[in-house]
């Protein structure tokens, strides 16, 4: 292959793909077979991190950045004056294998602009995955984008070679989508999700009867929403997210703070900071829903349409629900332990394990690594010393913030800084 040509294409098509935040390589249990190449790691591996601190796990590229659509929020929109390029199927296969052999990556994340039509594009994505699996005996991770509008037959084939399929909903509300991508329709995104979900269920049930049934997208499907492009609130975002988890069995919903890339008057202008703090709070809420047993409307609801930026959503919930506390760490069930601010699921597991042997006091909890600066106001343990005063939510919040050092703290601090930061 011609090095210079590949180098140029890689620069263009990696640059165009980077706005897709998903880089997960976990959740697949594909094993190396017949002494081939690759073995998907169940927990995923980040091989390096970009300078913005994001995990690099997969070779994330577009097959091409030619696109017939003109979505305002997208850098490859047809009206944008940028360099365009397209990989050949074999070129992507070679890059993937050679990067993988050097332990740079866990596999490939292949997406594409839509050229000609949906089927034509999807066919080429599938061709890459098929070649890797069947001709090269590659057992690493493959994530393919589902192209809205592609035929059922192609979608079925895609799932047989890919570990994960995804289609990005991008704009959380219908109105927002209408404004920014008038040629697109939310139903177009949802149809492939439904298709993938049905196939996964069908293949799983067949596998129960016939063991040799091939796996269909073993790492499931995911999607992404842009945050902060169209003025939606956190309640709308989390409602949409919750709908996607429940209705389509999503493994992950990603939230991507909008990065200004155009002078379009419908969007935040270039130079507007990326809403990273808000993005972080949305992910925390997502975690509370998926791992901590919270319902979304406990966190965001009509009264609280936006998440607090200065404190995390669990603490915020706890302060609104002080009647649920204090929790006795030596007696409480797992569900309630997980609701104590400052106690994560790892700590919950440690507490459950350690209290089998003895009643825990503050000293034990500290050694287990519990974030007592937050947790102490919400729990009791085997000690007579605990917060006896009836503190109000406002007082607790103040005490916790006094003791905490957050890298975002400067964003909320109105005090004058004498010596600068």
């Amino acid at each position: 292959m011609s090095f210079d040509r590949i180098q140029e294409k890689l620069k263009i098509l990696a640059d165009a793909a980077k706005y897709d935040v998903s880089c997960s390589s976990s959740g697949s249990n594909r094993k190396n077979k017949n002494k081939g190449l690759g073995d998907a790691s169940k927990s995923g591996i980040c091989h390096t991190y970009t300078q913005d601190g994001r995990c690099v796990s997969l070779l994330k590229i577009l097959l091409t950045n030619h696109c017939i659509f003109d979505c305002a929020y997208c850098v490859t929109r047809s009206s944008n004056d940028i360099k365009r390029a397209a990989f050949k199927v074999q070129e992507v296969v070679d890059l993937t294998l050679n990067f993988y052999r050097r332990n740079y990556i866990e596999g490939l994340f292949l997406s594409s602009g839509i050229f000609k039509n949906a089927d034509y594009t999807m066919e080429r994505l599938v061709a890459v995955a098929k070649k890797l699996r069947l001709e090269e005996n590659f057992n690493g991770y493959i994530h393919l984008k589902s192209i809205p509008g592609a035929s059922d037959e192609l979608m079925r084939e895609a799932g047989l070679y890919a570990d994960r399929l995804s289609v990005n909903i991008e704009i959380p509300t219908k109105q927002g989508l209408k404004l920014l991508a008038p040629d697109k329709n939310q139903a177009d995104f949802l149809k492939p999700m439904q298709k993938v979900k049905n196939e996964i269920i069908q293949y799983q049930s067949e596998r129960k009867i016939i063991k040799s049934t091939p796996k269909y997208a073993p790492a499931g499907q995911s999607t992404q929403m842009i945050v902060g492009a169209t003025g939606e609130n956190d309640l709308q975002i989390m409602k949409t997210s919750n709908f996607l988890y429940k209705k389509y069995g999503m493994k992950r919903v990603y939230y991507s703070g909008y990065i200004p890339i155009s002078h379009d008057h419908r969007l935040p202008q270039i130079g507007t900071p990326v809403p990273v703090m808000r993005e972080n709070r949305l992910y925390q809420t997502d975690w509370l829903y998926r791992f901590y047993g919270f319902d979304i409307d406990e966190i965001v609801n009509e009264q609280h349409q936006f998440l607090d930026l200065d404190i995390d959503p669990k603490l915020s919930w706890a302060l609104r629900n002080l009647h649920e506390f204090p929790v006795d760490v030596n007696k409480a069930d797992k569900r309630m332990l997980a609701r104590i601010p400052g106690v994560g699921m790892t700590s919950v597991a440690k507490i459950l394990q350690a209290r089998k042997h003895r009643n825990l006091n503050w000293e034990h909890l500290k050694k287990l690594g519990i974030a007592l600066n937050r947790a102490q106001y919400f729990m009791t343990c085997a000690s007579s010393k605990f917060e006896r005063k009836d503190l109000t939510a406002h007082q607790i919040k103040g005490l916790i913030q006094q003791q905490s050092t957050s890298k975002y703290r400067s964003n909320f601090n109105n005090q004058l800084s004498l010596f600068g930061a």
Partner: protein
């Protein structure tokens, strides 16, 4: 009187020490690696010779008393090479063997908690090595990587790489401890290599490495650069995930 017990620095050797402690009913001992043994002014030094059978008996007993997870942690903690880890392991083992119940994961016990913390650090280093190993293709068609892990983790990553790179020959060499793993398409072996005095493990010299190697390193570096989003720059987070001490062997971090 505190007695010093030395052993050959292997895990089997340490398990043999444990066996000996029970056999001779030793109390108040300090366990040291033989080559690191300090001068002892008073008292005698007992050298315990590694004995596979005795080691296996201790290991088997531990597996009966506790879960695999707990025994794995004992081994991982040993690999941390932390000063004095032998005595902590001894304390944890004595506690586990003396208890009727399974206390291998009783984090309320100081030795068990310490073991768990050490094992966690070692586990993190193991995971980092699975991520940060960078193979370079030599002219002989072997994929060669140099690492200098904080802890002695090669034995923990051997299977991962064997399963993953089943169709290519590879070497992962621990530069700090001067030994490596070599996979010859059938099995993994421990090897010791002699390097020319001018060999620099951070460089890719064209004497040793295939011409195409530098091209792929360049493509990887380009990719690393292109995939970054400038407006989200967060150097602190970046360094937290990829600490600087690992940069010297990372192709994407070469100038």
């Amino acid at each position: 009187m505190i007695q010093t017990v030395t052993y050959d620095a292997t895990f089997d050797g340490l398990l043999t020490v444990v066996f000996t402690v029970y056999e001779l009913k030793l109390k108040d001992i300090v366990i040291q690696k033989q080559h690191q043994q300090q001068q002892v002014l008073f008292g005698e030094v007992l050298y315990v010779m590694s004995d596979k059978d005795k080691a296996d008996r201790v290991w088997k007993k531990l597996k009966e008393k506790t879960k695999n997870k707990a025994t794995y942690k004992l081994y991982a903690a040993f690999l941390s090479e932390t000063q004095g880890v032998e005595n902590i392991i001894l304390q944890a083992v004595q506690y586990i063997l003396a208890s009727k119940e399974n206390v291998g994961l009783d984090y309320g016990h100081p030795a068990v908690l310490k073991i768990s913390k050490l094992a966690k650090s070692v586990g993190r280093e193991k995971h980092r090595m699975e991520a940060f190993v960078r193979f370079k293709l030599t002219k002989d068609g072997v994929y060669f990587a140099v690492v200098s892990p904080d802890f002695d983790v090669l034995s923990l990553i051997s299977n991962h790489f064997k399963n993953r790179y089943a169709d290519q020959q590879w070497i992962i060499y621990d530069w700090k401890r001067n030994y490596g793993l070599f996979y010859d398409l059938h099995k993994v072996e421990v090897i010791h290599l002699e390097f020319n005095s001018n060999f620099d493990p951070t460089q890719t010299s064209d004497e040793i490495f295939a011409p195409i190697e530098l091209e792929f390193q360049q493509l990887w570096k380009d990719y690393f650069k292109s995939t970054n989003i400038e407006s989200r720059k967060n150097t602190k987070l970046h360094i937290q995930h990829v600490p600087k001490r690992y940069w010297k062997y990372l192709s994407e971090k070469q100038p």
